[in-house]
Symmetry: C2
């Protein structure tokens, strides 16, 4: 059986092994592997795109894995197949990992209708995000119709996850100041849905947080204008309070997700977002590739240390140094 058929057509253990093998191939840095991976991706592409891609983010301790396990099992019960991928920016920095530990979702990871894959363990955020985007396509080709991409609220990983999913969910703890942090980091405005978890611990605090975040979203202009006759055609970010631990509110959450999908599909924004994401992704990789080639060029590498030192010492204008380096590069 071809690698493509093993992913698209086969089932059970054979399929799982084929998926894992394909993702390992995608993650390889060897040039011949990369050529094979590109060929495989192109062959898989007609079978992709049919899932709902859900991004979930939140600080460590907010209860992401508990929530994803509860959500995943709920969705499987309804007949879905669920893949969970992770972007863990901490793993490439520390060598360790905040996320990516399969045992965190014990029941879900053992379920035959779920596929859980930890974060690629090395590389820049851009590189890790690229591997995850490609792994998402493999999962889609294998028939997983819900793909969850999880990330921890560190650095720019939220922007990366929002840039590859159809809906971005921000998980918050029910305490004041938390929402201000999210606004500060610009992640609140990425959110299509805000989930306040751990409502079981303090229901009053959760209700207060819900009201505060709703009013923040309104002040930030992320809620539509109620006087705008078209505002019902655009999604208004919702704030939902739930308890992942007790499994309470998961159905409400999924109802909101489904409403979002229906509305965005009807107004054309669902497909538009995906097209924009693909083009941004392409240009992001081109930028990274250009910069890498530039930095590896021997003439540039020879000239760079001295020019950098001159710029730092204030002897050479930064723009002049940039032009000199670009001239060197163009004459190579």
């Amino acid at each position: 059986m071809s690698a493509v058929d093993a992913i698209v057509v086969s089932q059970g253990t054979v399929q799982r092994r084929a998926i894992a093998k394909a993702i390992t191939l995608l993650e390889s840095t060897r040039a011949d592997h990369r050529a094979q991976a590109d060929e495989l991706l192109t062959a898989l592409l007609p079978h992709t795109g049919k899932s709902l891609r859900l991004g979930i983010s939140g600080v460590p301790g907010v209860g992401k894995s508990t929530f994803i396990e509860a959500l995943g099992l709920h969705l499987i019960e309804q007949g879905h197949r669920v893949a969970v991928l992770t972007i863990d920016p901490s793993s490439s920095v520390s060598g360790g990992s905040i996320l990516g530990d399969k045992t965190r979702m014990e029941k879900l990871s053992m379920h035959e209708k779920a596929y859980i894959r930890p974060s690629p363990s090395s590389g820049t955020l851009g590189g890790v995000a690229e591997k995850t985007r490609e792994a998402m396509l493999v999962c889609e080709a294998a028939g997983y119709d819900i793909v969850i991409v999880e990330t921890v609220g560190v650095g720019q990983s939220e922007t990366a996850v929002q840039g590859m999913t159809d809906m971005f969910v921000l998980m918050q703890l029910p305490n004041a100041g938390d929402d201000l942090q999210a606004i500060k980091k610009g992640v609140m405005e990425l959110a299509d849905l805000v989930v306040i978890n751990k409502a079981d611990i303090d229901a009053d605090a959760a209700t207060r947080a819900q009201a505060m975040i709703t009013s923040s979203l309104r002040l930030l202009g992320m809620h539509g204008n109620p006087n705008d006759p078209h505002s019902d055609k655009h999604w208004q970010p919702q704030v939902i309070s739930l308890s992942a631990l007790l499994g309470q509110g998961v159905d409400t959450f999924w109802k909101a997700v489904s409403e979002f999908q229906t509305l965005q599909t009807a107004n054309g924004l669902f497909n538009q977002r995906r097209q924009n994401q693909s083009l941004s992704w392409m240009w992001e990789r081109i930028d990274a590739g250009l910069k890498q080639a530039f930095k590896q060029n021997s003439a540039v590498r020879e000239q760079l240390p001295q020019l950098t030192a001159s710029v730092q010492a204030g002897q050479l204008a930064a723009s002049t140094a940039a032009r000199e380096l670009l001239r060197t590069w163009n004459q190579r």
Copy 2:
């Protein structure tokens, strides 16, 4: 007299004309002008760097020009020479301009110790920012010891201005919600100093805004930890309420700026920030140059439309398209 001497040594009208001519040269897109401009910049560089570079931002209507006029006249009275440059992102979009109108600062613009230059009127934000950085160096070489770079709170221009100045000041109106907008846009965390203007209209509102923004800054963790024995060595962003119209509070403002400069110089952060800015600037221009060369390459231009269409149609993975285009580019 050489162009360099006309800028560095001459005075009065001769110097003003030399500055204007140099900046016009810097703004030219002609290749031979650019070569001359680079030569001039390199010759001027030993005479630069001795000013305090002050960034000022705020939404239209906050009273920036009234404030800068009051501040500029106050500084000239104290023996300083003041240059005011502008980055107006609106001018390149609309052809018109929110800022950049000399008549806004009537007294200051007529003063012989002040030099006011409107925003370069075309190009990308990156391009406009580059011209302004270079114009700043020309003003420094001409002996202006305070260079103010003003921008209107639109798009990413605040980040550009913060990236080229020693101190970044955010001007706010005394109404609630305004600070939340600033937090949302990530501009609050860029601020070394927040000014609440128009305290003359409603002193109570200004006091409330001052308290709210101070507490927001604290919640955002931008104020130091009072229990940290080293926290007095680092600048804590201040919030100052004033009336630019009545000229009240301008001295308090300048006192805070001077404290900032003294502290940052003592702890070494003043020079470190400038060095980092220069290197970021260099890499920003390199990135822009690489992308421009890539997009202008004939082989890339030939291949790009079809690959873009395939990516949009979902027939080609974005990363595969990026790799194909980079291969084309590398084989040119």
